[in-house]
């Protein structure tokens, strides 16, 4: 899932303080699961903003609501007229949602209420961990299921650097060395010799290096076109 965390209140206040009518707009999918931007968090931010406005003597109306997902147009349809009635929408969806809404909402300003952090998993309740970078060219079958792109601090493709230290990364003792994990895992699988294979240089163009990406699935497109 996409993991994010709420922006500091002061930063949010800086975005909304000149607005009169603010909607904190939650997304009840990925960012709700990480308790950053679902309906409940949207309500909390709205309450904090109202208190802040009171403290600052600013006349501001702040309301909140949420929809299932901010990344598909159909979910917006039933509420879009209402959303357009505000002069500022503080979206607590991930960056995808903020972009997506901004493209559709017309003259209303959309601001991000959260920082979109990474694609991650719930390692244990309350602990979210980055495990994928969305690079567009998956090699997990060659690395024992452990991603060096997302999990090596230097995104190295050919083994650990000199900073590996008893299984930990030189950037911090709490960070695992991805290549240490890869080697240990492949030892367990009995596939360590695969690492000796010489591979061609990686093509980074399916990732962000190739520019903004778009995926089309032809048979799902234009579903509502009439029969020819």
């Amino acid at each position: 899932m996409i993991v994010g965390s709420q922006k500091p209140l002061d930063e949010i206040w800086g975005m909304v303080k000149d607005s009169k009518n603010v909607l904190v707009f939650g997304c009840n999918t990925c960012v709700a699961i990480c308790h950053a931007g679902g309906e409940k968090e949207a309500e909390s931010i709205a309450s904090l903003l109202r208190t802040k406005a009171g403290q600052e003597g600013v006349d501001m109306k702040v309301e909140s609501m949420g929809i299932q997902r901010h990344c598909e147009p159909e979910y917006f349809e039933p509420v879009m007229d209402r959303v357009r009635g505000y002069d500022m929408v503080l979206s607590t969806a991930c960056g995808v949602g903020v972009n997506f809404l901004a493209e559709r909402i017309g003259k209303v300003q959309v601001c991000p209420g959260i920082n979109t952090s990474f694609y991650g998993a719930v390692e244990s309740p309350g602990v979210f961990k980055e495990l994928c970078a969305g690079c567009g060219d998956c090699i997990l079958h060659m690395t024992g299921g452990i991603c060096p792109v997302a999990r090596c601090s230097k995104t190295l493709m050919n083994g650990p650097c000199g900073g590996t230290d008893n299984g930990k990364c030189e950037i911090g003792k709490e960070v695992d060395c991805a290549w240490y994990l890869i080697v240990e895992r492949m030892k367990t699988l009995g596939t360590l010799d695969q690492l000796a294979e010489v591979r061609p240089p990686r093509d980074w163009s399916p990732g962000t290096a190739g520019g903004p990406r778009r995926l089309t699935i032809e048979h799902l497109m234009d579903m509502e076109e009439s029969e020819e």
């Binding site: 679902g38 409940k40 904090l48 159909e74 039933p78």
Partner: protein, 688 residues
């Protein structure tokens, strides 16, 4: 796209309709929402509790004193320790709400233009009268005895049922505009034919008001009495003619009533004889125990053979040994050993072996009877063989409890209403089946803390059996609150809105009882949920509501809780979220800057509730909760403390210091007010 195909998820608010009945409610013949009213008693809301009770039970006061409480037998606390003392809680709430109930009495407009005559004013007749009056019918009750109430006023001894309590129930019903005619013998004072002409429908609810006798030698003559006339005379202070040594034949509840009444009338020795063994005896255990405490001996497994007389004077009862009472198929079929016999000496014998109805009043009507003399009636419509004449109560159910008769009264009232509306009675009486919550799963039961039941005291046996006074001493307020909190609120727990849930697993992770099961959405099993409420405030999609509790209520009313905040205040305004255990402690008075907010359990305090307190102008928040020993749910104090730390982080950018979000874990029986005062003293006034 012409029309939105994705619908906006509906806003969920308020309290949902219950989908499952807990076993207590399921066992109650009138399906009283016991969990709800016990919860309200635990919140100190006795008048609201009364409303819940009275909404289905027109003989609420009566039941609070004499109900055999099938609810308690089914209480899921039986799997942990002892059942919640539901009947005594009911009595407490009703007595506390006396003035309130009196203030609510008012006539219901008779809008239907139709009238109903009800023969009999016992539990079923009163209940039917109540319901039909509520529906706008003109109702008249015809009672044979001098007072309304049937057996309740003419037979149940006053040491069990005070007539003042009965009067409250009757006054509720009469206040709706129900007419009554007492000392009225149908067939003599007014005939069935006349009743049929006068009323659009008639309900026969005469109960089983006559005692059966025994066909044994010597039974006719002085010194042998029948139970119902004896109880009637005792109830009205008339001479009963009992001697010093009384023997009661029978092993049911009425027999125990008769024996204990004889004792109170001055008999020096009272004994009972019954066919059944101690275990088989049909009287309730507690009735037998109380009789035993009063010195009443029971001769088990002896059958009456004849009354032994010396001339007219009763010498005693000849009895033979009973070898078995029931046959292999469980039917009543007593067998005797004629070789074992004895004389049980007594000068008065009271026969209490069962009751029947006298249907002589039906002469001349077309209401038919079967070959055994019982009324013919249709179970599907509550109607007798004569159209427009309905039946209810023990006439149709056979001997049973007051509350079962009341349930029958409800059903008959519905039948009459359907009939007078020209609707299909049988179809209209079909009830929707509501699922019953199962027994407490063992792995949940082991997490439920054992809390001793608060037993009520009885008057001392030596003194109580010399007068007709209520022998049960009811709960005082603190005991009632304590006992109410023993309830596990089965069926009053969490409900996930499947439409809003996005299966994030938060509820599953936080639940101490492993109640949620998550597939494509979470489902919180009512069999397992203990209504702690920890899950609802944590749900990131706001998909969880609670049965019987509006999760939004506190934050919606926060401005009222906080009240006025003086801009020039010196003392901080503190929102004190208090577990009801402490909020209801009347020995405590809080300074005016501390604004109490009663919560059922700290588990239910939501981040939003706290943020709303600041929004409403509070300088700080203090949570008073039980320590882990005192809380009825595992893990609450730890989880709530963590929740509050999270809130400290949220409000810190507002310049609100960590000290302004405080909590204390109170220990039962120890002073916690000092701790609360300490938290308040450490909270700075905002903006100063």
């Amino acid at each position: 796209m012409s029309e939105a195909k994705v619908k906006e998820k509906k806003e969920v608010a308020g309290t949902p309709e219950k989908t499952h009945f807990p076993p207590c409610r399921d066992a109650c013949p009138v399906k009283t929402d016991i969990q709800n009213y016990v919860w309200l008693i635990g919140e100190g809301r006795n008048e609201d509790a009364f409303d819940i009770i009275r909404s289905v039970n027109p003989i609420a006061s009566v039941c609070s004193l004499i109900c055999h409480h099938p609810c308690e037998q089914q209480c899921r606390r039986c799997d942990v320790d002892k059942p919640v003392s539901i009947r005594h809680l009911k009595r407490f709430a009703i007595e506390q709400a006396t003035e309130y109930r009196r203030s609510k009495r008012k006539a219901v407009p008779k809008t239907r233009g139709k009238s109903i005559g009800i023969i009999g004013s016992g539990p079923s007749g009163l209940t039917a009268a109540n319901d039909l009056a509520d529906l706008g019918y003109d109702v008249t009750i015809y009672e044979k005895g001098p007072d309304l109430g049937g057996m309740l006023s003419s037979a149940i001894p006053t040491y069990r049922l005070s007539r003042e309590a009965l009067r409250e129930d009757i006054d509720d019903v009469l206040s709706k505009g129900v007419e009554s005619v007492t000392n009225c013998n149908i067939g003599e004072d007014i005939t069935m034919k006349e009743l049929r002409e006068k009323h659009d429908a008639v309900l026969v609810a005469v109960g089983l008001a006559e005692s059966r006798s025994l066909p044994i030698p010597g039974v006719d003559g002085p010194g042998v009495l029948l139970a119902i006339p004896f109880l009637f005379n005792a109830a009205y202070g008339k001479p009963t003619g009992i001697g010093k040594r009384v023997l009661v034949i029978g092993g049911g509840n009425v027999a125990v009533d008769v024996a204990r009444t004889a004792l109170r009338l001055g008999a020096e020795n009272v004994e009972m004889v019954c066919l059944e063994s101690e275990e088989e005896m049909p009287a309730w255990d507690w009735e037998v125990e109380e009789a035993d405490e009063e010195g009443i001996k029971v001769h088990h497994r002896w059958g009456p053979k004849g009354v032994s007389r010396d001339g007219d004077t009763v010498k005693g009862l000849d009895v033979v040994k009973v070898t078995s009472v029931f046959d292999e198929s469980g039917r009543f079929n007593p067998k005797f050993d004629e070789n074992q016999k004895q004389l049980i000496e007594a000068d008065t014998i009271i026969i209490t072996i069962g009751q029947m109805s006298n249907y002589d009043f039906l002469k001349g009507s077309s209401v038919e009877r079967d070959e055994r003399g019982l009324l013919k009636w249709d179970r599907a419509t509550q109607m007798s063989s004569e159209s427009g004449v309905f039946v209810s109560g023990e006439v149709v159910t056979g001997p049973g409890s007051a509350i079962a008769a009341a349930a029958s009264g409800h059903r008959s009232a519905r039948a009459i209403h359907l009939f007078l509306e020209g609707k299909d009675v049988a179809a209209g009486l079909q009830d929707e089946e509501i699922a019953r919550i199962e027994k407490l799963p063992p792995d949940v039961a082991c997490k439920v803390k054992s809390v001793p039941r608060n037993e009520t005291e009885l008057l001392d046996p030596k003194t109580r059996c010399r007068e007709f006074i209520q022998i049960e001493i009811g709960y005082d307020e603190m005991t009632a609150l304590k006992e109410a909190r023993r309830c596990r609120s089965c069926g009053g727990g969490a409900l996930v809105d499947q439409d809003k849930c996005m299966a994030c697993l938060t509820c599953l992770r936080i639940c101490p009882y492993d109640a949620p099961v998550v597939t494509n959405a979470s489902y919180i099993s009512p069999d397992r949920c203990q209504a702690c409420g920890l899950c609802a405030p944590e749900c990131p999609a706001r998909a969880i509501r609670m049965f019987g509790y509006d999760v939004d209520s506190i934050r919606n009313e926060m401005s009222a809780y906080i009240g006025k905040v003086d801009p020039s205040r010196k003392e901080p305004v503190v929102a004190a979220f208090m577990c009801s255990k402490y909020a209801l402690d009347k020995s405590v008075s809080l300074p005016s800057n501390i604004r109490p907010i009663q919560v059922h359990c700290a588990s239910r305090i939501d981040t939003l509730d706290v943020l709303k307190a600041f929004e409403a102008g509070a300088d700080g928040v203090a949570v008073v909760m039980c320590d882990s020993e005192g809380c009825r749910h595992p893990g609450v104090s730890r989880i709530v403390a963590r929740r509050l730390r999270h809130i400290q982080g949220l409000v810190q950018p507002l310049g609100i210091a960590n000290e302004a979000v405080g909590h204390l874990k109170a220990t039962e029986g120890q002073d916690w007010t000092e701790g609360l005062g300490g938290i308040a003293a450490g909270i700075p006034v905002r903006g100063k």
